[in-house]
């Protein structure tokens, strides 16, 4: 039994602490969601115009019923309800809400403890990657031979579309979900996030968002790709409505989480933790959070208008009635390009932490790095139309957008400089997270260079809409950001789980992943050069060798991820106990004990310098003051503060 569990078990709360929430968990959420979904179905079917099962109105109302019902059943709105009724939560209720005294069951509840939310996110992300990965394997298997008819065009299109969106959802939350929740508040010396209930809301909203998009397979799927360009998406199957509901729900989650991250960092930093001393990972998280706040609402608008177009016959995207598909495309990419940096920046931040810790050196040029991240974020909002070079929209804007797109390689280059500069002359400690940093450097250069071809309008006229683009963005998102996330998992695993990751197994996984990525996407680059369009179910036999290569690579890649998953699960249960600071790192999250107690620190930390003082004669980043603090101690009656 870990000390956190001792603490949670030993704290005796009153029998009524938590109120109604005592009886709510994932199961009641599911039941309530299904019931309200059914109510929605009846309303859609009987009262509104839906005449046949599966019509757009019915599907939409059912999904809305599910989302609201699920969150209601989870207890997401309890606190607000009680506040409205004038019976605000007291301290005991809040402690119950943070999971005190509930053991492992708190992972299935609307728990406000940021560490619980972080672990919930981690499990959800891995589940989503599993689902998206399985779809990818089906897609690659279909593409083994040019005239394979294992999948029908309809199911193939559905798989391509939903693989894309599920992976995008997973990658957006893969670092900012688990680590910006679990690690980031500890890094800045906070007791929790600024809005713990919103934190739980942001997680359970994603959970609510997942069933509709996966369920869309049962009502025809989506046949318009993850981009769901109108007007095709307006005419698509009812699965499109479920897709749109998923997006709208997910955007709420990202927005809520983004605000929470920003407010936490602005208001909850420990004494002495100035903005100039923030770990780079925290900078990455808040810049990504802010960028998400800018980007995601555009997607919400685009998809809401798509729903109204489909359900009630507005004509936002119908050219014949004065609408325009270009409107959708613009809204989509105003979200779509900043979003890749929402994915990348926290992962890059985590990699910088890794670079510093495992080179035993301070980060190279802290200010330049923060500036580069801000520069990337600033430019990211001005480049969206490079996805539209070949649409025919606003040809006069080709040059300006080519300029902004190519400019973004300057701050990205600075990020590279800071990474290799941090490694330079460091005493490299070649543990597993460092492996992933090197893989990131290798992959992201390739992803970046191929991006330059695509930023060039004339070359883009050949590569747009072909497999080259697919290979390019997989190299950046999978080979770059997701490798960063894998590095982050390996790096913070001892803090999150309390145990060391089995690196012998982990290195097997690493090499399979590293080789898998190269083979898979070199194959797809070849397909692109040869002129194979994206999203095709059958293809010209000319492209077969490249496709076979890519599929073989994809199988290798999947094997690698599964082995890494095995290493994670196995080590979580049986790994060597890690202790608070196995990497001898200097940032705050390693200074508190493992497992991290409720409210994170037994004594409030006071920060005297930034967390990168390797090789400098000075005290560590923290000076734990002797002042006893702690709800923790008082509650337990444990004066020593030892749990």
């Amino acid at each position: 039994m870990t000390s956190t569990e001792v603490y949670l078990e030993n704290t005796v709360l009153g029998p009524k602490a938590g109120g109604l929430y005592r009886h709510q968990n994932f199961a009641t959420g599911l039941i309530s969601g299904v019931v309200l979904g059914f109510v929605g179905w009846v309303i859609g079917q009987e009262l509104l115009q839906g005449s046949n099962w599966g019509s757009d109105m019915t599907v939409t109302v059912t999904c809305v019923g599910w989302v609201l019902g699920f969150l209601l059943g989870m207890g997401a709105f309890n606190a607000v309800g009680r506040w409205i009724l004038g019976r605000d939560e007291d301290h005991e209720d809040q402690l119950y809400g943070a999971g005190v005294g509930q053991g492992w069951t708190r992972y299935f509840k609307f728990c406000t403890d940021h560490k619980v939310v972080g672990i919930q996110y981690l499990v959800l992300v891995m589940t989503l990657f599993g689902a998206g990965g399985a779809m990818a394997m089906m897609i690659r298997t279909q593409l083994l031979s040019p005239h394979m008819n294992w999948l029908s065009p309809q199911s193939y299109n559905a798989l391509v579309s939903i693989h894309g969106m599920v992976m995008i959802i997973a990658t957006i939350i893969m670092v900012s979900g688990p680590f910006a929740n679990f690690i980031m508040p500890i890094m800045i010396g906070a007791k929790d996030m600024a809005f713990p209930r919103l934190n739980a809301l942001s997680f359970w909203t994603v959970v609510a968002a997942v069933p509709p998009i996966l369920g869309s397979f049962f009502v025809g799927g989506v046949d318009s790709g993850w981009t769901t360009y109108a007007p095709l998406s307006v005419q698509s199957f009812p699965g499109q409505d479920m897709f749109a509901i998923t997006i709208c729900t997910f955007v709420v989650s990202v927005t809520v989480a983004g605000i929470n991250t920003l407010v936490t960092v602005i208001t909850m930093r420990a004494k002495g933790m100035t903005m100039g001393r923030l770990p780079i990972f925290v900078w990455g998280s808040i810049i990504a959070g802010g960028l998400g706040l800018y980007a995601m609402p555009a997607f919400l608008m685009a998809q809401s208008a798509l729903i109204t177009d489909r359900v009630v016959g507005t004509s936002m995207y119908a050219p014949a009635q004065g609408g325009a598909g270009w409107l959708y495309e613009n809204c989509f990419w105003i979200m779509g390009h900043p979003e890749v940096y929402v994915i990348l920046l926290p992962a890059a931040g985590a990699l910088i932490e890794i670079a510093s810790t495992f080179s035993r050196k301070p980060v190279f040029s802290y200010k330049a790095m923060v500036g580069a991240m801000l520069g990337i974020a600033g430019l990211a909002i001005m480049v969206w139309a490079h996805h539209m070079f070949t649409t025919g929209w606003a040809p006069t804007l080709a040059n300006p957008f080519m300029l902004t797109t190519e400019l973004i390689s300057i701050p990205t280059g600075v990020l590279f400089l800071c990474m290799v500069g941090t490694i330079w002359r460091g005493n490299i400690w070649a543990r597993l997270p460092m492996y992933f940093l090197y893989l990131f450097l290798w992959n992201f250069i390739i992803g970046g260079v191929t991006g330059i071809y695509l930023s060039d309008v004339p070359a883009d006229q050949y590569f747009h809409g072909n497999m080259f683009v697919t290979a390019h963005f997989h190299f950046t998102l999978l080979g770059g950001a997701m490798i960063g996330a894998a590095g982050a998992v390996c790096y913070w695993f001892p803090k999150v789980s309390g145990r060391m990751l089995n690196e012998r197994v982990g290195k097997w996984a690493f090499w399979l992943i590293a080789i898998g990525i190269q083979v898979t996407y070199y194959g797809q680059f070849l397909e692109g050069f040869e002129g194979m369009p994206r999203r095709v179910v059958n293809y010209n036999p000319l492209f077969q060798p490249a496709n076979v290569m890519s599929t073989m690579g994809a199988y290798t890649l999947m094997a690698g991820w599964l082995i890494l998953l095995y290493a994670i699960i196995h080590s979580w249960r049986n790994g060597v106990v890690a202790g608070p600071n196995p990497w001898h790192a200097k940032s705050l999250e390693w200074q508190t004990e493992t497992p991290v107690p409720l409210e994170n620190f037994l004594v409030d930390p006071v920060v005297t310098r930034d967390p990168y003082g390797y090789g400098e004669e000075a005290p560590d980043a923290t000076q734990l003051t002797p002042e006893p603090v702690g709800a923790a101690n008082v509650l337990l009656g444990n004066e020593e503060g030892v749990l």
Partner: protein
Amino acid sequence: MSSEHHEEEEFHADKREQIAEQVEPFFEGGPIWKRPFFGVFIIWVVMTVIGVLIGLFVPVHVLDGSSSSQQDSVKLTIIVFTIVAAPVSGIVYGIAAYSLFKWNKRGSGKLDTPPEDGPALRGHGPATVIWLSVSIVLVVFLLFWGMMVLSSEGTPEGNAIRMQVVGQQWVWTFHYGSTDITSTQLVLPINRQVEFEVSSKDVTHGFWPVQLGVQVDANPGFTTTIAASPNKLGKFDVRCSQLCGLEHAYMQTTGRVVTEKQFVHWLAQKGASKQAIMNFTTDAK
């Protein structure tokens, strides 16, 4: 205030000296093959040469044919960009790989405690400035290259022939301008600029005559234009590059580039009157 400032500066100067004692100089000291500069340089040269070779040989061999000046310039662009990118990637790989070879204690991955701290280098002004300047110069080059190629492609020629392309699920139809000929075959005369006026009857398609190296979406309700200059006789592919529903994969056809004479002959065969053909092929607008 000033004395404080002075102390601080002294402190930093001391620190710099300390660090300088810890690190070996980049350019000087010892035999040349032991200097960090040399190691990075070697890896950089190797990676750059590999990159340049890839740039010179891979695109030429795998890019699917070329039937127009536009596609020729796509090829050239890929080659030039790869060659320009090679030294930049090479320097990142050089620094990263040299660090790994030189300063990684063998077997350090099995250590439970970290090696000693490295030198406390917190940045290097000149390196940052050089890095920034080089990347700015490169970006300016890329931009000018793109603008130059784009403007040379964008200028319409006087004797361009104009034809209409219509996409619908899942077939392309080509209208040969004033001749009133409509066909699902795309036949083009060589060495004449052709301007495609592209639109769609239903959803968005992507008109992509592959080996002509141009591409534009077919949007319902608008007409978009793109010009190509076929310069090689033979077949080329026309594919749809924008997911357009169930049979998107099959929305393709082959086109042909023929001589002017064959082109006129083909139009006549399709039933175009002599006058219409004359107007179509000689008249600019």
